[in-house]
């Protein structure tokens, strides 16, 4: 069960890994934002009504925070380089180092921070 909730909770990161262009497309990004917001609301409805295991349900709050972190990091990158970061997974092109750093930072900050916030700071 923990793995299922983890997969749902990390769906933004999985999209980032598998189909990252969907995060850079405005329409699809809005859809992802809506879905993650919906999951966030559902999670707190379940928690406040004492439905389900809080440990698992809290994982549903992670996507919304990940999307917010992604949009902030993407905004900073866009302001500096006037373009979107390219995919650098297992890339062997040294000129993509800035894109690689963007991807690296997002995956670390956008995964660890929401989980810690969800489990350590949110009620």
């Amino acid at each position: 069960m923990a793995l299922v909730f983890s997969l749902i909770g990390l769906f933004v990161q999985i999209i980032f890994l598998m189909k990252r262009d969907r995060l850079f497309s405005k329409q699809k990004f809005n859809l992802i934002l809506m879905v993650s917001l919906l999951l966030f609301v559902i999670a707190y409805l379940l928690i406040f009504n004492y439905i389900g295991n809080v440990k698992y349900v809290k994982m549903l709050t992670v996507p919304f925070m990940s999307v917010l972190i992604f949009s902030v990091i993407r905004f900073i990158f866009f302001r500096i380089y006037k373009r979107n970061a390219e995919d650098t997974f297992w890339s062997m092109e040294i000129n993509q180092i800035t894109d690689g750093v963007f991807n690296f930072i997002f995956l670390i900050v956008g995964t660890i921070m929401p989980i810690i916030i969800a489990y350590k700071f949110l009620p």
Partner: protein, 181 residues
């Protein structure tokens, strides 16, 4: 047709072997019958030691020529085929299709890598959810995410990611996780 080899048989007959590499045809002719009959030679019947030696040599020559000729024919055929393919520009299509197969394989390999990375992230999070969420567990989660994220750094990232992953699975960072506890 060039004369490539000649030899003498047991009877003292001289054979000549002809081979044409262009047509790939060969021919052996009996060009001269030489019964060595001299007054000073005792080999009246035509059997002489040179004939025996030559016959053995001729046999060996024939075998070697057959082998080389066969090789030459094969090589010539291969060259001809290559020339024909080049003329037909089929070699280019073959090269491009090979490149396509290679690209597709690399793409499939990368997709597999992404899938495993995604599963790894989810497994790390699941392990964190099931834990008591102490400092060590947070460090473990962070370690797993860093290992996955380094795969995005160009050139050196994949090697670092694999190296760190192997070290982590071998328990090299356990002391660090305990320290975080």
């Amino acid at each position: 047709m060039p004369n490539l080899a000649s030899g003498v048989d047991f009877a003292g007959n001289i054979y000549t072997y002809f081979y044409d590499p262009n047509s790939g045809k060969s021919k052996t002719t009996l060009s001269w019958v030489a019964h060595i009959e001299t007054k000073n030679d005792k080999t009246q019947s035509g059997f002489n030691k040179f004939g025996v030696y030559d016959a053995i040599g001729f046999g060996a020559d024939m075998a070697e020529l057959y082998r080389q000729g066969n090789g030459a024919v094969q090589f010539g055929m291969s060259l001809g085929k290559a020339e024909k393919i080049l003329n037909d520009s089929r070699i280019l299509s073959k090269m491009s299709s090979s490149r396509q197969v290679f690209n597709n394989s690399v793409k499939a390999f990368k997709t597999g890598g992404r899938f495993i990375a995604g599963l790894g992230l989810a497994a790390n999070a699941a392990e964190f959810i099931e834990s008591d969420m102490s400092g060590g567990d947070i460090a473990k989660l962070a370690g797993g995410v860093v290992i996955t994220a380094t795969a995005f750094i160009p050139v050196v990232g994949p090697f670092i990611s694999v190296g760190l992953g192997l070290l982590d699975s071998a328990g090299a960072f356990d002391a660090l996780y305990q320290l975080a506890d």
